[in-house]
Symmetry: C2
Subunit: 276 residues, 2 copies
């Protein structure tokens, strides 16, 4: 891993690394915030998955999360949202291809060679982080929009791997909304059975470990009724007896101003779970 | 004033306005954060002046200042750094023309018609803010780099107008460093006597009101020795008996990660002064 940014921040270091991903078969960038406590010993890690069009910069420059990570002694790891590069398949649309990996392992061409963000986030990246940084194997995961979908799916499919999971404005049922239908048809093909393994609402139905879900959602979010549909998650959690704290935040939209306003709550939530 | 952005943030509203500036003879954009307290009555105002290449977005998206403004009940006003538009003189360099107004009233062509950021920040903008928003006439001023220079100069030249002043990584002696020499020669001409009215180190020598100065400076700042030279401010403040709290912050650079790390201290400092 090559360090390409290194900036003092809240007594720790906001770094950016470039590294070769074997899983994605391309170079990737990832933001890593090391809190002051990491200078004295290993710390637990919160993985953050960003949304459509983002790369590793959005969260590290706009969320103001480092303050809370420094308070709680949590490492923040914020990867890019897709494979990247001239050799990597792409699409002109903002919601397909580079910047729109949807945290799946693609099975259809031209995507299958590089688009394996599920394996990258769930396996390859934590292994790298835990080998390279003063990180324990105590993990939590969160994200925004497409990244909220990714966090919920990866946590639900990997019982025991994360102490806690949360999401901001997640796409909870990608199989039922335009963003997800477009991406899943391209990456996974037309068989909707294959989509269910990447759909939080479907996964809650059969979840073995009932890890509580913390979800913040702005009620002025421009994508609320068309793409996000948190009521589908509420209904399935109620039916399955899966604990969900869904907070509808009045007046808030889909932007990083929303994330910044509540990321402190989420980091405190994850820090409590990771200390327990 | 036309509102062009409106986003819930820490219980208040991060807005952006476009308005016609008579002083600058062009349209301007300005970020205005209204804390939750502004819904119940007038609040004091902290003006923030950004640095080279910035517009009103940098501070409002990257500094994380809204959290502290919401805690203390302070309005944040963050203007653009120069006049803008196709009819406004410009230069290809990043450190002259649009994005580089240096908070002076230009007297030389082609700049004199629009480049009057001193009058805009010191007079026109506060008058607009205090007429349009639930703002008192209790003011403080701060800024970064070129904007730290602007904040120090405007506060030093206007006794009684601001309750407090602070700066991050300011250009304290523009007459003595390359950025300032280039900009002042262009905007003000070759007579260096005219430069002194826009040079904090010169202004401290004759300051009537000895408003204490709070300055944070990263000791890993890439511009420290060539452009910023805080030791010049320290020497002149010592000689003039002008109170200065100059904090050299170990490891910090010139970026918004530095500002984010200490903006809470600055807002608390200004809030105390504005309550007094």
């Amino acid at each position: 891993m090559e360090r390409i940014e290194h900036r003092a921040c809240f007594g720790g270091w906001q770094d950016v690394y470039r590294h070769r991903s074997e899983v994605l078969d391309c170079d990737m960038t990832v933001g890593v915030y090391l809190p002051p406590q990491a200078a004295h010993g290993p710390c637990p890690v919160l993985y953050w998955l960003s949304g459509l069009t983002c790369n590793e910069q959005n969260f590290i420059t706009k969320a103001g999360a480092q303050r809370y990570a420094a308070e709680h002694g949590v490492i923040l790891v914020a990867p890019d949202t897709s494979p990247r590069g001239q050799d990597v398949a792409n699409d002109e649309a903002y919601d397909l291809g580079q910047g729109a990996g949807f945290y799946v392992n693609a099975t259809r061409e031209p995507w299958a060679k590089h688009y394996r963000m599920y394996d990258y986030v769930a396996d390859e990246l934590p292994a790298l982080v835990e080998a390279k940084f003063p990180a324990t194997d105590v993990r939590a995961i969160s994200g925004h929009s497409m990244g909220g979908h990714g966090a919920l799916v990866i946590a639900l499919r990997n019982p025991g791997r994360y102490r806690s999971v949360s999401a901001f404005s997640p796409i909870v049922a990608p199989s039922q909304v335009p963003w997800g239908e477009k991406a899943f048809a391209a990456y996974l093909g037309d068989d909707r059975e294959a989509w269910k393994r990447y759909d939080a609402v479907e996964l809650v139905k059969g979840a073995r470990e009932k890890l509580p879900l913390l979800v913040d959602q702005g009620d002025a979010d421009e994508f609320l009724s068309g793409q996000l549909k948190p009521e589908l998650l509420r209904a399935v959690c109620a039916a399955a007896g899966h604990r969900l704290e869904l907070r509808l935040q009045p007046g808030y939209d889909h932007s990083y101003y929303f994330i910044a306003s509540f990321i402190g709550d989420h980091i405190a939530h994850h820090a409590r779970a990771m200390r327990a």
